[in-house]
């Protein structure tokens, strides 16, 4: 897979578990330096016991932020996994619970971070390569998945069917009453030996697995709020304004809880053990998860929320306060009382980081990697801070450019039209050049919709404070919710070419019953006319019979 700068962020994200122990060493062992080898098992034990939290902030080349806040550790008893330190009855037998919600273009962003090869890029990317066809391209898969995934998945191991369903209902009820979640069952599946034909004579490494998949029925903002409620509200979380995530154009929230790590490890061992006939190559997991003398047992949970923001930094920016600017904090930032708190910020190479504060490389409490433009703070070691600030020279960032697309009217009926206006505005202090605005993808997706007017245009320059627009009209012949893919803006600034696009937007075209019936009759003519005529003539005949004979010899009892 070809590495681009964006991968640094996902590497940082995926490295959460790896980074955390390393930093934990600075908490629990003053003599530790990041470069030295450490006993991973001991470090993970400390992390799991005391908990950890991490803020990941990435700024892209257009000056837009992507932010993730996550917590890792033993779940608090409010989640209900344990009661009085003992595994609660409803989570007994549950080996994993995964709750995930995404909206906006967050899911697409995550796939992009993983690389195009992940879902079917070309072989030179070196990624996973299912098929060499465009059918399995990332875009086409995203088209079929959609952008709003709201799911809860629970897996129970070796539990009676009725019992697992009862416990699942208990868990749902607890999540609903305690955190405000709402669920609607999608699927449940029980896999045991009866699931397979007897002639298989299959020996499963378990007695049964019950999988419950639920759709979340609450709004995106409510899911984010609920995930925050699940988390430990001390530490960084106390400084975070949740509405930043709730109002972002794209966001995601997730929770993974393993009630009993020991049971999960046993299950994995069951898959890998035996005489080589297991489901997964023997020793795969043990080689992948060589974690020294650490014994994983008891509950574990990871919860995280993240968002993709609009352009925040521009040519005029000189510094960034991670908590105030990206997380809405208004006061001091306080780390967790116990456990680990860390902040990681990543900037593109077009930004020249000149300093950051707090700074304490002497005690290994902060770290700046010049090669990747990545700054790391050990929040626990640094203690309470007014903020985490990065100062930089941003001459290579573009001026503040806004791009908006509006519809007039915002919805319509079949046969009606809407006027689409895409406007680019230079809100910065410097002009941009070679401005190109393109919004042509809609007509490629829906050739049946009538598009008239200009769907693209170019301008030599766009002065500070100036705006330019393209306007076109779309006439809809069919009902439905139409997707307007992002309008794309490209421009030059300071010898660099920048690209910006609007979000995918939906447009509703409604159909009235009468209109549809009329169209149905017209489309099916003359057959529909013959049927309606027959029905009508029969009706007239029947009514005449009623008038003429009053029922004749037949009448209803009274």
């Amino acid at each position: 897979m070809k590495h681009v700068y964006k991968h640094a962020f996902v590497i940082a994200l995926m490295g959460f578990l790896l980074v955390s122990p390393a930093v934990a060493a600075t908490v629990f062992n003053d003599s530790y330096s990041p470069a030295q080898d450490v006993e991973i098992g001991d470090l993970l034990s400390n992390i799991l016991e005391h908990g950890a939290e991490l803020v990941l902030a990435n700024i892209d080349e257009e000056g837009a932020p992507q932010v993730i806040y996550g917590q890792l550790g033993i779940p608090s008893e409010t989640l209900g996994v344990t009661t009085g330190g003992v595994l609660s009855e409803m989570y007994t037998g549950c080996i994993a619970m995964v709750l995930v919600a995404t909206y906006g273009e967050m899911l697409e962003y995550i796939f992009e971070l993983l690389g195009t090869g992940f879902l079917g890029g070309n072989e030179s990317d070196g990624g996973f390569f299912p098929l060499q066809t465009e059918i399995f391209s990332m875009d086409s898969i995203m088209d079929l998945i959609g952008d709003e995934l709201n799911m809860l998945v629970n897996v129970f191991l070796d539990v009676e069917e009725a019992t697992s369903r009862y416990r699942m209902n208990e868990i749902k009820s607890h999540l609903t009453t305690s955190f405000g979640f709402g669920f609607s069952e999608l699927f449940s599946l029980r896999i045991d030996e009866s699931f397979f034909p007897p002639e298989f004579e299959l020996q499963l490494p378990f007695q049964s697995i019950d999988v419950f998949i639920e759709q979340m029925t609450i709004s995106d903002a409510e899911v984010i709020d609920a995930i925050f409620d699940v988390m430990n509200t001390d530490g960084f979380a106390a400084s975070i304004d949740r509405t930043i995530f709730e109002n972002a154009p794209a966001a995601a929230a997730g929770l993974i809880a393993v009630p009993d790590m020991d049971a999960l490890v046993d299950l994995i061992s069951g898959f890998t053990s035996g005489d080589g006939g297991g489901f997964i190559a023997a020793d795969f997991f043990t080689s992948q998860f060589d974690i020294g003398n650490l014994t994983l047992e008891g509950p574990l949970a990871v919860a995280a929320v993240g968002y993709l923001g609009e352009q925040l930094l521009s040519t005029s920016s000189t510094d960034l306060d991670i908590f105030a600017d990206l997380l809405g904090s208004t006061g001091n930032v306080v780390p967790l009382d116990s456990g680990l708190s860390a902040v990681i910020a990543h900037f593109p190479h077009t930004i020249n980081v000149t300093s950051y504060s707090p700074e304490d490389q002497a005690h290994n409490l902060t770290y700046y990697d010049n090669a990747t433009n990545l700054i790391f703070w050990n929040g626990t070691g640094l203690g309470t801070q007014p903020d985490y600030t990065v100062t930089f020279n941003a001459t290579n960032l573009p001026p503040l450019i806004s791009l908006e697309r509006s519809f007039d009217p915002e919805s319509c009926s079949v046969g009606e039209s809407t006027q689409v206006t895409v406007t680019v505005t230079n809100d910065g202090d410097d002009p941009i050049a070679n401005v190109s605005l393109v919004d042509t993808e809609f007509s490629a997706i829906y050739p049946d919709a009538g598009v008239s007017g200009s769907t693209s245009d170019n301008w030599a320059t766009l002065a500070p404070g100036a705006s330019q627009s393209i306007t076109y009209t779309v006439t809809f012949t069919n009902e439905g919710r139409y997707t307007f893919p992002g309008a794309v803006l490209t421009y030059d600034y300071n010898t660099n070419v920048f690209t910006k696009d609007t979000s995918n937007q939906g447009f509703d075209v409604t159909a009235d019953v009468v209109g549809l019936i009329q169209q149905g009759i017209a489309d099916g003519w003359p057959y529909t006319g013959m049927i309606l005529g027959l029905v009508g003539v029969t009706g007239i005949y029947s009514v005449l019979g009623l008038i003429r004979g009053g029922g004749g010899s037949e009448f209803y009892q009274t």
Partner: protein, 188 residues
């Protein structure tokens, strides 16, 4: 008047079925309609309404069972005889089948002129589609079959049986309810 009573019974039953099917369409179908209709045309909604009317899993689609029952009962009351109720019920189902066939033909005639599948609209996902009761039933039936296929055999009978049951359920419900209606208010 015997024919007239059956006619009005049939007309009433059809009105109840079509109105109930249209206005009480499960929310998941609307997501599917919003997704597919821009490409396949305005017959997507009527087609799915008719599919929801005609393929009824009694375990998961109680609402349609109730609508078929109500339609059959009213048809039976108006028909007034058991034989008439049977005819009314069967003709109601048969006309629904005809309408469904017409809608499917119209939908594909429109859709064939258009391009590829459009993207799922913003604000929704495949999860919403999977929330449709009929889709859930089909997947619930397919998963064990996939497990069976791993052994080399595909049990066609077990694949078709649920569909046959879902088709038969409305006929049985509308006719039984019709006969009950005829018994409640019989002609002399």
């Amino acid at each position: 008047m015997a024919f007239g009573s059956k006619y009005f019974g049939w007309l009433s039953a059809m009105a109840i079925i079509l109105a109930g099917g249209w206005f009480l369409l499960p929310a998941g179908y609307n997501t599917l309609i919003q997704w597919m209709a821009p490409q396949l045309g305005n017959y997507v909604r009527p087609t799915l309404v008719m599919v929801n009317i005609l393929l009824v899993n009694p375990m998961t689609n109680i609402m349609m069972i109730a609508i078929w029952g109500a339609a059959g009962f009213l048809g039976g009351v108006l028909a007034g005889t058991k034989k008439g109720a049977f005819v009314v019920g069967f003709m109601t189902w048969l006309f629904c089948l005809g309408i469904a066939g017409f809608c499917v033909i119209q939908m594909f005639m429109t859709g064939l002129n258009l391009g590829t599948l459009p993207p799922i609209p913003p604000g929704t996902s495949i999860v919403d589609i999977l929330g449709i009761p009929l889709i859930q039933d089909v997947i619930g039936g397919i998963l064990p079959m996939i497990a069976g296929m791993a052994g080399g055999g595909l049990d066609i009978f077990s694949m078709i049986l649920p569909l046959v049951m879902w088709v038969v359920v409305p006929i049985v419900v509308v006719i039984v309810a019709g006969i009950l209606g005829a018994m409640v208010r019989p002609k002399e």
